[in-house]
Symmetry: C2
Subunit: 433 residues, 2 copies
């Protein structure tokens, strides 16, 4: 690319699918990204844009005119279009809607009525349905007339004349069972339909647990609305995992690897500002002991050790809690048992490493009293760290905030403050008085 040889790039682009092109674009710095984007086949524009992280997409869409955006939208399936349309300016949306036929418009509007993070928002309306009282032979003749099935169709859905969901007819049953059997004799009932208001996280969990490829979505009256397919669920799982990893560091999962510097700086600034504020609180705590430090400077030398051991302990527990909460394995029923375990683990490690650091300090500063101070402070701070590690994520969840935000800033501030306070406080008590 750097040599300006565009033809081979263009040729290798054609061998990639839209998701791969999106991954490639995300890994390119802005200038090269625009060059490659220009070379993408116009037909793939819509799908590639959909696979991009929000930020990268916005960057590229700013450069497109209305006609290009409408053309990109026209190539998409209804469920993808529903995702895409949320990112379009109002004027373009109107044009896209106008270009659709009445049927597709009605379908699109039914999907758009849902929040994107619900079963209704994830679903596609391209379900193929059959009646329970026909034979498999009739089903097969119908399918042959109909032609290709929508992608990821592993089963047809059986509905009554009012459209209520009755059961699932897997394709392999149509192929392997006696053609004279009736649909109702062959269909399966195991696939419990998803309510349209179910959260996407719950949808993903059920897909994972039951190894589903597709699942029916119904409204509260049991009427079949559409289906969710595993490819969209994989995206939900990936997005949630990304979210937890990035949120622990105070970042957004849509952060672009090559976001414009000014934009990235502005976004990171917020978290750094919060941290500056909390670090000032920790500094205030140290400041309370200025007189002690001026008498025993060794306290200033050793205080980062106590704080950092607490930070590590708390962050390990936060990672465990964030995963447990995401998988629905941590709740009010087992918090007590979990806390008891973590406190015990922290105290054992506190005693072990407290003893080690006490010995190190004894050799270093030849002061038994100082050894005692750091050993005690370490044990107590790890106890505080375990408490914060368990309860801060739970508290955030209770406040309807993201438990992963407990990572880095919040919990570390707590362990820093407690570490400084315990160590310098004990130092004042034992070494000065």
């Amino acid at each position: 690319l750097e040599g300006g040889r565009l033809l081979p790039v263009k040729r290798s682009l054609q061998a990639l699918n839209p998701a791969e092109i999106a991954g490639l674009l995300e890994s390119l710095p802005p200038q090269e990204r625009n060059v490659v984007w220009e070379m993408v086949d116009r037909e793939d524009d819509g799908e590639v844009l959909l696979h991009l992280a929000d930020e990268v997409r916005e960057g590229l869409m700013r450069e497109m005119d209305t006609a290009e955006l409408v053309a990109a939208a026209e190539e998409l399936d209804i469920d993808d279009l529903a995702d895409f349309i949320e990112h379009l300016p109002e004027t373009v949306t109107q044009q896209v809607l106008k270009a659709l036929d009445a049927d597709d418009r009605a379908r699109l509007e039914s999907v758009l009525a849902y929040e994107p993070d619900t079963a209704g928002g994830l679903m596609n309306t391209d379900t193929v349905t059959v009646r329970p009282d026909v034979s498999l032979d009739v089903v097969q003749r119908y399918l042959r007339l109909r032609g290709d099935l929508p992608p990821h169709t592993d089963a047809l859905f059986v509905v009554d004349r009012y459209g209520a969901y009755l059961g699932t007819l897997p394709l392999d049953k149509i192929l392997t069972r006696d053609p004279d059997s009736l649909v109702q004799a062959v269909m399966e009932h195991e696939r419990e339909p998803f309510l349209d208001t179910l959260s996407d996280r719950e949808v993903a969990q059920r897909f994972e647990n039951a190894d589903l490829v597709s699942a029916p979505v119904v409204n509260e009256k049991g009427i079949l609305l559409g289906r969710i397919t595993v490819d969209d669920v994989v995206d939900v799982i990936r997005a949630e995992a990304d979210h937890n990893l990035m949120a622990m560091a105070g970042l957004d999962e849509d952060e672009d690897l090559f976001a414009p510097v000014r934009k990235a700086a502005r976004r990171r600034a917020l978290w750094l500002g919060v941290n500056l504020f909390t670090a000032c609180i920790a500094a205030r705590v140290v400041g309370m002991f200025e007189a002690t430090i001026s008498q025993v400077v060794a306290l200033a030398v050793l205080m980062p050790i106590v704080a950092s051991m607490g930070g590590i302990t708390a962050n390990q527990i936060v990672a465990l809690m964030v995963r447990g909460l995401a998988l629905g394995q941590v709740g009010s029923g087992n918090t007590g048992a979990l806390f008891k375990k973590e406190i015990a683990v922290a105290l054992i490690n506190g005693l072990l490493w407290g003893l080690v650091i006490a010995l190190v300090v004894l050799f270093w500063f030849k002061s038994p009293a100082l050894s005692l101070v750091i050993g005690l402070a370490l044990v107590m701070n790890l106890g505080c760290a375990a408490t914060a590690g368990v309860f801060v994520p739970l508290l955030l969840r209770r406040l309807r905030l993201d438990p992963a935000l407990a990572g880095s800033v919040v919990v570390t501030t707590f362990t820093d403050v407690m570490g400084f306070f315990l160590f310098l406080g004990l130092g004042t008590l034992i070494l000065i008085h």
Copy 2:
């Protein structure tokens, strides 16, 4: 459960699938876990064990005798059995192998020959194959004779008489195309077969990008060996995401929420020990400036601020790098551009927050020189943090270590050491001399 009413628990267990039972067991403290485990239907034992995190599984399997383990193994599919057998003691493995018929034993051994984290290790050998020169009608008659297809069969694979992979015949094509067409006229070639030695990460990426449900696995001669299905890929994606989240905190992704205290303490001890060692290095750096601190105690009060701002900056970049490396979006081609961006972002934020903290310090300590020292140190430390954040994960990857290990301990030590050194060093230069 606490009230000792076991019957309703048993009844609700029967409504759960093995993956859900595994999730439930993981969320229970050890004692209750054993009670519920006893109530699980014996037929589900094998599948439930497979869905458990390694540690939880080991705990439960220690309590089972050989006959129970063999019985659990017998209920499993070949690819699941291959996973399961790795967790069995040698004597039990022998018995399980003896209980299999020759066909299944040969299949099992072909899967066991691969590392679990390769396409070969992920594959199942229950493929249904057809020849290219028969008609769809013949295929359908064959399927009807054969009966139910293996789970997640969305397509048959077309092979020549030597077993070489030729193409894919999706089930919906069999249903919708003219029964007189030949397989070779209808089959698809888009699904590129996976080489058996491909890494599971690469497999997952390709499934995600191409929205696959199943894919053929071949050896280097192109002979079809088996197939990989999306349910196993979803597990790979989940495991990798878990791994990154936990490894950033220095934990193993298989860590049991309710690991026995002694075991959990031992495992966490390692990371804490490493951190204690690196924190001592940071303390040594502070110790170099004891004389300076004893003259200007305010330096001890403020030094945690400089260090912690560096830690946050570095951890944000590490999170971005870990995700980028996992998705294959960061490589030697774009490291330079990425570094330039991150340095620019860090310096902008360094200038902004350096100015803010300088003003705060000016009001707090009324010392313009001290303000200058902390402002300068902050800018410089954020620059160091950006450098470490970009290059430490890359270095770890180069050393064939896990880039996520850069999180917390390694990078934070670096920013602590540099933060203390820069701040106290500048303090000595500007305030003392």
